[in-house]
Symmetry: C2
Subunit: 568 residues, 2 copies
């Protein structure tokens, strides 16, 4: 018998099965005599392509709600015998795990285990938001593992949670470690004083693994779900997590890891991180980081670098105190730079925390200043760019253009802060401070006379050996009323303190803060969905109730819609 193998398929229309059950069925079929390979999938187009790629394809008509079972066997009778065993195998698998009494409804589970602050939800995406909402309505926090939840449902769930002082971790949240208990996929990590916030699962797991190896350990690891930092959701969970770990006495250093957030979310989160009063390591994988770090906020380029910075911060406890901020009269920053790279670095930094920012050397298309001769919003200018230097000396030698522009910016009542650079050294003007100081003094005097609080800050680049006399240049600029700093980082920090977004005071926003017990007390958990998650929680010592969840109307969507209408 060396006949060609045969492929035969069977269908179970519109029925719901737990993914674990499907995996087990596939293995059981593949182990039957004469069966060479088997596939058991919900018949989505993608899954059918995957089946076909393994030589298990079929032409049978089926939809995404149908269960497609395909076997490749050495002979026709072996294939037929395998398919005939499907229903009995499914029954065995489904019954195999159900030992004790299990509530069918979440509300019953909550009555059974009232100490449970958390509900783990891993049912299929189209049902998951309803289960999560029910949990919130029952006053419980939600670990929402399920994916394929619509983003508007995510946003409304998280707004509801925020209003009630609850957390929704996810959807598509793979990992959390709260109060020493791992949720979803998680690693058993020694307890320590580093708190993690991550959008994704394996980002957190890699950090858990690294930090455990370092013998540093973690206090908590809070997953937010991959879309939390999108504009649609607005980083609600990440903000709650920052606030929790800021208040948590067991946490000394925070690490925030995610793909690049939406710009407006980045601005708010960085403001909150800056005000956290603890070191915060930020790793936005795939984004150009806005500098090396400011104050207590450090930007890492990789998970390993984040780990290194966290360990360093833990040892040094640096930059922990929140910055004092101060206010000037206007709103806008205007930077008039002679150095292109200095202007670029400052634009990169300020573009991440201020809005709107314009420039003649824009980093993003929306930053392009329409008319280089007229500033608008926050404006950072490279006055050494070609459009300003044709037939003219570089602004490091000729200050005429800068002095005129300084006067123009200072006359704008909406301007709060003017930034300048002075670059000393060979080739440059013999006395830059002498040229600029009278202009600065005049600008400040005129603003004061008009009842405005204008400020000027100068980035002074040079060495003690430079021909201009560094100390004297610095003193001249300071006498004119300017603040003098020596690095881009200091200039950015100063700017942020003048005009940066202030983190909102929780009292002011009237939001219910999440009680710290939410992340500390994980003795009791309710699980809805994948049963291995319940087993893991129990193995870690948590008291767990598994809900014997079934989709409405057994997964038949039309019937479910009918039932929902009848309920109203």
């Amino acid at each position: 018998m060396s006949a060609e193998p045969v492929v035969r398929t069977a269908l179970r229309a519109g029925s719901y099965h737990d993914s674990v059950v499907l995996m087990q069925l596939q293995r059981a079929l593949a182990a039957l005599p004469g069966v060479l390979d088997a596939g058991v999938v919900m018949a989505t187009p993608a899954n059918r392509e995957l089946l076909a790629a393994s030589g298990l394809g079929s032409e049978v008509v089926a939809g995404p709600d149908d269960l497609l079972i395909s076997v490749q066997a050495a002979s026709e009778p072996a294939a037929a015998a395998a398919l005939a065993a499907v229903d009995s195998l499914l029954r065995v698998r489904a019954a195999g795990t159900g030992a004790d009494y299990r509530p069918r409804r979440l509300s019953t589970a909550v009555q059974q285990l009232p100490a449970a602050r958390w509900v783990v939800v891993s049912v299929p995406g189209r049902y998951a938001a309803d289960v999560a909402e029910e949990a919130l309505d029952l006053g419980r926090n939600v670990f929402l593992y399920s994916d394929n939840v619509p983003v508007d449902r995510e946003a409304s769930l998280k707004r509801k949670a925020r209003d009630r002082g609850l957390l929704v971790l996810g959807p598509d949240c793979g990992t959390a470690v709260l109060g020493g208990t791992g949720f979803g996929f998680s690693n058993r990590t020694r307890r320590g004083r580093i708190g993690l916030i991550g959008a994704s699962g394996t980002g957190l797991q890699a950090l858990l693994s690294y930090l455990d190896g370092d013998e540093a350990g973690i206090s908590h690891a809070i997953g937010t779900g991959g879309r939390d930092l999108s504009a649609a959701v607005g980083g609600i969970t990440a903000s709650q997590a920052l606030d929790l770990l800021r208040r948590d006495e067991d946490t000394d250093v925070l690490v925030l890891v995610s793909k690049p957030p939406a710009p407006e979310v980045t601005r708010r989160l960085l403001g909150e991180a800056r005000a956290a009063g603890k070191p915060v390591i930020v790793c936005f994988l795939g984004a150009a980081p806005p500098g090396g770090g400011w104050g207590n906020v450090w930007f890492a380029n990789s998970l390993e670098e984040a780990r290194g910075y966290a360990l360093k911060a833990l040892q040094e406890r640096v930059g922990a105190s929140p910055p004092t901020t101060f206010s000037t009269g206007g709103r806008w920053v205007r930077g008039l730079f002679s150095g292109g790279t200095l202007a670029l670095e400052i634009l990169l930094c300020l573009g991440a925390v201020l809005t709107p920012v314009y420039s003649n050397i824009p980093v993003t298309a929306d930053q392009r200043l329409p008319d280089p001769l007229k500033s608008q919003g926050h404006t950072i200018l490279d006055l050494g760019a070609d459009e300003f230097t044709v037939g003219r000396l570089h602004p490091m030698m000729d200050f005429d253009l800068r002095l005129r522009r300084l006067r123009q910016e200072a006359a704008d009542p909406e301007v709060a802060l003017i930034l300048l650079d002075v670059v000393l050294g060979d080739g440059a003007h013999a006395d830059p401070a002498g040229e600029l100081a009278p202009g600065i003094e005049r600008a400040l005097t005129e603003a004061r006379a008009a009842g405005r609080e204008l400020a000027v800050a100068v980035l002074l680049i040079g060495t003690a050996a430079d021909p201009q006399d560094l100390q004297e240049q610095s003193a001249t600029l300071e006498r004119s009323g300017a603040r003098v700093v020596r690095t881009v980082g200091e200039l950015v920090e100063h700017t942020w303190r003048c005009v940066g977004e202030r983190p909102r005071d929780p009292a002011e926003t009237a939001l219910a803060p999440v009680p710290l017990e939410a992340i500390r007390d994980t003795r009791a958990v309710i699980n809805v969905g994948i049963e291995t998650f319940a087993a893991s929680l129990a193995a870690q010592g948590a008291e767990v109730v598994q809900v014997d969840w079934r989709p409405p109307a057994g997964g038949n969507e039309k019937m479910a819609a009918l039932l929902a209408r009848m309920k109203r």
Copy 2:
């Protein structure tokens, strides 16, 4: 007399003037009695707008080669008197600086100062390339300050320089410090053992200023010009500079700063940096860095971070030895990951050094894999992405999909290396290594049987306390023939050593290496253009000959073209 101020203008058609002379004329006019303000510019549209913004605008018909002189005066007679003084002021200014005999031609200057290895060129952009080319033909290195040089001229100048073992720093090169002598705009920095390479001027100046404050100092600072790292120029000067500082015994640590290079230039430069045998700090401002660093290459997010890393590298002398590379049979890497963030980090890293790279979670549009079921080129897959997980367990629990894909990739004779991740912990498969190892072993055995050298590397994420037994999982994977690593950085390093671009051997490319004397011997310099540069060089102790350069035909372009035709 409280009459309105009057604005009057004069024109000098098609005449060439040094920018310093124009600045001095403007100041002299503004200082005349009754004059309130003055502007002296080449009449480009941008400059005329700038004049108008200062209340010095005029409707006079003029072109970009015309000199436009505008005065604002308290009275008509004062304005008239000022404009009447223009020619005599111009004569005074132009004559004022010419004391000694000055050669009119570069070739004469070279005869006069044969020890000069360098020619500084700062004449207007449209003439600068011709002067630079003449210097190269005379066997001299060029510091090309001028901007507005066409990019194709830059590329051809640099190719000529490379073929002859010469350097062209620029065009638009603001700064260099070679052998202790500052060129263009530069700071007097203590001598030390950090060598700098920078596209831009103020990027280098900021580093000079920072490192001098740190009392570390520099060996050399080599400017390349802002377009050197573009695809059109191909980073010729940056490569020469890396090679020079690699060979230079006075340099222990290298720092490379620029805006983000073209992708193909990034790949080559990172390969050369990795092979430099010294620590190299890379700071591409505004680009997402491909990780925290690999081996001797560290990625900084800001100039201050670059400074910090350079100081650290100087103290620790870490990662100095160049990596050994090894070769496998095929060409392509195929990554089959269950963790999305792990896949993303690896894609970010490998995308910077390998080409072409495809993925189902592309970072750039050209990385999108057309068919997720078929790999092509280097491919990095997130098998936990939605298209693979509808109605199916996550690949951290169910290895069926990965094992099938592993077999598929291993059968491709062009594949050199397969990357996998194994994430241990609660919620994950109870024995991932037990599932994967037989598949890995079979893949390696079949490849060997077919006479191919296939390799498999596994990134193992987990802690010693995880339920799966970390040591045992690692041992099982190693027994299957896989290389096991514990961090993304190690996996990337391993991959690069298998399939990364090899830096070309200078002998192989038959290029003339630039002699180290080019950056060490700056006793004698020839200056063509802005005279203050000559004064700065002389003040630093260099012997300088200033060429009394005039544009061909006095700046009259038509006449110059006619003269050029007559020469042929």
